[in-house]
């Protein structure tokens, strides 16, 4: 933004819904005054006009002249379906690092073109797919024998297709095969290796889609980093959308780790025709419907994600969100990720993933917007299980991504410092403390405002303590066995904050074990989740 308006809008245009918010300067600080969301297709101006009317009716003095709202600044972010890349190379082994690098940046990575996976015809068909945004060739230097020949063969095939398709950019990662005349030099970009391939690929593809400057997923990452600096906390951001899932860990010094995965979308497109994929999602469903009906409901979640959002539809949506988080978490902890090629192509260890809980987890995205807060909190705890205590919050107005498009870091931090209380809906706090043996009992003591409550601590359960938003408390756990709360201890004390879901104390196993038999698993999930859903009919 170049000027400071008294009021402005944020717009987060996702693949399924459009979220809008009205922010204005009130009593010397920025405040979130109203927010709304609607399915894609509803014009943004309809939402914005509604927000202005709403605020003007309740507090007219908070806004400048409402008649001028069409001219107010709009801070916008947008998410696109992930760009598609095909990775080619002389062997599966050589393409692995490149495929992982693209997958971790949210690209939709197609089946690889290697001698092991595809013949010339399959490869030519894959390269002529009109939906393909980029072909990336893994071309490590110093290959010998068959691998060198295979690389030259792949480069010749890619070069032939590039000669036919002037709309397909080609990226070659590595110096292998350089000097060959197969590739049209003006359309090909070479990088040192997998480490610097993705930024170069973004530049190549970005030219075709007006850049990435307001990309919602990148912007969300920037906002989480700014938020961590403003709050001086370790903050984890998780966003599950229709087309991708994003996870970022940031501390006061900046982003520690970032991951965007196309396959961590709520219901990825490839799941629609893949029964095993759908069943893996349905594994988290507490619904008693037959498997065919649940699969079709999941497919409909892909076709029209805004429909059927109440009742069982809400439960199924949260089951799909759980499965997305599970895929995101698996990629986050993927042991093969620990080694990768740096910008100069050298093989090195990646930064370790922090194993203990962050101070604050912020969740965002349409998947979490509808279900009741306690159910969302339990879904997070079920999947993102780290020992220790953490606070949970929801980016309910989906403001973080638009604010992440503000170019100036100081401006963004100032904005977030003012808005943090308004835009982060407190879901509650969670203490994950496995280790209590079956048949043993511990004690949970919660002290707030001088009053103390003691509860028995039972093994393998989630207990909820009513702790309203705005209240801070001390949670003390005592156990006859060693509890694992980051360290092993029989007594542990945490500072926790309240929220709509209260305080959740979780003594279940890590990782969470679910029964294999579908009916038994469904009963398990239903028993766990039932207290967290408000079941009363309207």
């Amino acid at each position: 933004m170049t000027s400071e308006p008294h009021a402005f809008f944020t717009l987060d245009a996702g693949s399924a819904t459009l979220a809008a918010a009205l922010i204005a300067r009130v009593d010397g600080r920025w405040r979130l005054l109203a927010a709304d969301a609607a399915p894609v297709g509803i014009p943004g101006d309809v939402l914005l006009r509604g927000l202005v009317d709403q605020v003007h009716a309740a507090r007219p003095e908070a806004l400048p002249d409402p008649a001028g709202w069409p001219d107010w600044t709009r801070v916008e972010s947008r998410t696109w379906p992930p760009p598609r890349v095909v990775i080619a190379g002389p062997s599966d082994r050589s393409t692995d690092a490149l495929a992982r690098a693209f997958a971790a940046d949210g690209w939709n990575v197609g089946t690889g073109i290697t001698p092991e996976r595809a013949g010339a015809l399959e490869a030519a068909i894959a390269l002529r797919d009109p939906g393909l945004d980029l072909v990336a060739v893994a071309a490590p230097d110093g290959l010998g024998g068959h691998e060198h020949e295979a690389l030259l063969d792949v480069l010749a095939l890619v070069g032939a297709t590039a000669g036919l398709r002037d709309d397909l950019p080609v990226l070659v990662a590595g110096r292998g095969g350089s000097g060959r005349p197969d590739l049209p030099a003006e359309r090909v970009r070479r990088t040192h290796g997998a480490g610097d391939a993705v930024p170069a690929a973004r530049e190549l593809v970005g030219r075709r889609r007006d850049g990435w400057s307001n990309d919602g997923r990148d912007a969300f990452v920037r906002s989480i980093a700014s938020l961590a600096a403003v709050l001086d906390l370790r903050v984890e951001g998780v966003d599950v959308g229709l087309d991708a899932g994003t996870r970022v860990m940031a501390g006061p010094d900046g982003v520690m780790r970032r991951l965007v995965r196309a396959d961590a979308a709520l219901v990825p497109p490839e799941a629609v025709d893949d029964q095993r994929f759908l069943d893996a999602i349905a594994r988290w469903s507490p619904l008693a419907d037959d498997a065919f009906a649940i699969r079709d409901r999941l497919r409909n979640l892909r076709v029209a994600p805004w429909r059927d959002a109440a009742g069982d539809g809400a439960r199924l949506r949260l089951a799909a969100a759980r499965a997305s988080l599970e895929r995101l978490d698996a990629a986050w902890h993927d042991p093969a990720r620990e080694r990768h090629h740096d910008a100069r192509g050298a093989d090195r260890l990646a930064d370790p993933v922090p194993l203990t809980a962050p101070d604050l987890v912020v969740v965002s995205g349409g998947a979490f917007a509808v279900p009741p807060a306690p159910a969302v909190a339990l879904a997070i705890v079920d999947i993102l299980r780290r020992p220790g205590a953490m606070a949970l919050a929801l980016d309910h107005a989906r403001v973080l991504a638009p604010l992440g498009t503000i170019e100036s870091e100081p401006d963004r931090r100032r904005m977030l410092a003012d808005l943090a209380d308004d835009i982060l809906l407190p879901l509650g706090s969670v203490v994950v403390a496995p280790g209590l043996r079956a048949g043993h009992r511990g004690t949970l003591r919660v002290t707030a405002d001088g009053a103390s409550t003691s509860l028995p601590l039972t093994p393998g359960a989630v207990q909820v303590v009513d702790l309203p938003p705005g209240l801070s408390a001390a949670a003390e756990l005592e156990s006859p066995d060693d509890l694992f709360v980051g360290v092993r201890a029989r007594r542990a004390l945490f500072r926790v904050t309240g929220g709509l879901g209260g305080l959740l104390v979780d003594t279940r196993d890590m990782p969470l074990r679910l029964p294999d038999r579908p009916e038994r698993r469904r009963e398990f999930l239903d028993t766990w989740q039932r207290p967290f859903w408000t079941t009363a009919e309207p």
Partner: protein
């Protein structure tokens, strides 16, 4: 009541809050229909050609294979070069390269061999629409249709065309396999709210060229794809077949406005597009008049019911403690003629006609 200005600049009056209801995908005027091209496909038209429904667009290889010949000292034909069976490539006479079968040059390997995709048998892909060939590139052939098209949720199979036959009594009726027979050969059937794999298989066996349904079981889509692949792998080519699904998965009534449009087009030649999923109507086909205040319920126990948007309601708490913005809808009478029901429906579960 609020006054809004629609795209056609006609000022109309609509109930306040109706603009918050998602619109049905409107008919597309003169859509672009894409036919995907594979290596070895041979276009039979050029950009600018006018084509009618059923005109041949391209010759598609059946059972294509990659064949290679040593180049030795011959000149290298450019990738994408098409050739007929026995044609001389990269030289002439005894030094020329020849392939057994017609095809297309893929690329020359660094080891000095020319790879091409060849086939002995071909099938002709016909145009599903009347229009003008807009572009042809190695990936796709695009036809700019002259008539309007109704968008759908998904489509399976190959672009197809046939005479439109409404084979069920109403939008929520189902077409069973035993209702399909040889009378329907060459037709595109409107099959109501659902068709199962038995019905799809029988339809293909009877020479039906396509089916239009409100919903389909996802497992049946997977089975249909597998069936089409098996048919492609067989010796004899079968006529193209397309399944076009209008509203999603499961049993879903054909949306009322689309039903009216299809009934109006019965007996005419229609095309079915796959990319994107479209029902392609003849140029000049009439469309039902859309009433802006008409809405359709798109989820829940009232799925498929239609009615009139009355007014926007405040945010309401619904099943499972979910809070949603709702609208008051006067449903069209079903059981007792003349007796309308007033009911609140979440905005997200509504779709407006106009």
């Amino acid at each position: 009541m609020a006054t809004t200005l629609l795209d056609d600049r006609r000022a109309v009056t609509e109930p306040a809050g109706l603009s918050r209801v998602p619109r049905r995908s409107p008919p597309i005027t003169a859509p672009l229909v894409t036919i995907g091209l594979r290596p070895g496909d041979e276009p039979l038209v050029v950009p600018g050609d006018r084509v009618s429904v059923g005109d041949p667009l391209l010759r598609r290889q059946r059972h294509p294979q990659v064949a290679e010949q040593p180049l030795r000292a011959r000149s290298v034909p450019a990738p994408g070069t098409r050739f007929v069976e026995g044609a001389e490539l990269g030289g002439s006479g005894r030094r020329a390269l020849r392939y057994e079968g017609a095809g297309e040059v893929l690329y020359a390997t660094p080891s000095g061999r020319l790879r091409a995709v060849v086939a002995r048998h071909h099938a002709v892909v016909a145009s599903p629409v009347t229009g003008t060939v807009r572009s042809i590139d190695p990936c796709a052939l695009v036809v700019h249709a002259e008539g309007p098209a109704l968008p759908a949720a998904l489509a399976v199979g190959e672009p197809s065309h046939g005479t439109l036959v409404v084979a069920v009594d109403g939008p929520d009726a189902e077409l069973h396999a035993n209702q399909i027979d040889v009378r329907h050969a060459g037709a595109v059937l409107v099959a109501g709210s659902r068709v199962d794999i038995e019905g799809l298989t029988r339809a293909r066996a009877m020479g039906v060229r396509g089916m239009i349904v409100g919903g389909v079981i996802g497992g049946d889509v997977v089975a249909l794809r597998a069936s089409i692949e098996r048919q492609d792998a067989s010796v004899h080519a079968s006529p193209s077949f397309a399944l076009v699904v209008l509203d999603g998965y499961g049993k879903r009534p054909v949306p009322r406005w689309t039903w009216d449009a299809l009934v109006g087009a019965a007996g005419q030649e229609v095309g079915l597009g796959i990319t994107p999923p479209l029902i392609l109507l003849e140029p000049g086909a009439g469309m039902p008049v859309a009433d802006p205040a008409r809405v359709r319920v798109t989820a829940g126990p009232l799925l498929g019911r239609t009615g009139r948007f009355v007014r926007l309601l405040a945010r309401r708490r619904r099943a499972a403690g979910v809070h949603q913005e709702c609208a008051l809808v006067e449903l069209d009478p079903v059981a007792l003629p003349g007796v309308a029901e007033l009911i609140d429906v979440p905005l997200a579960d509504l779709e407006r006609d106009g």
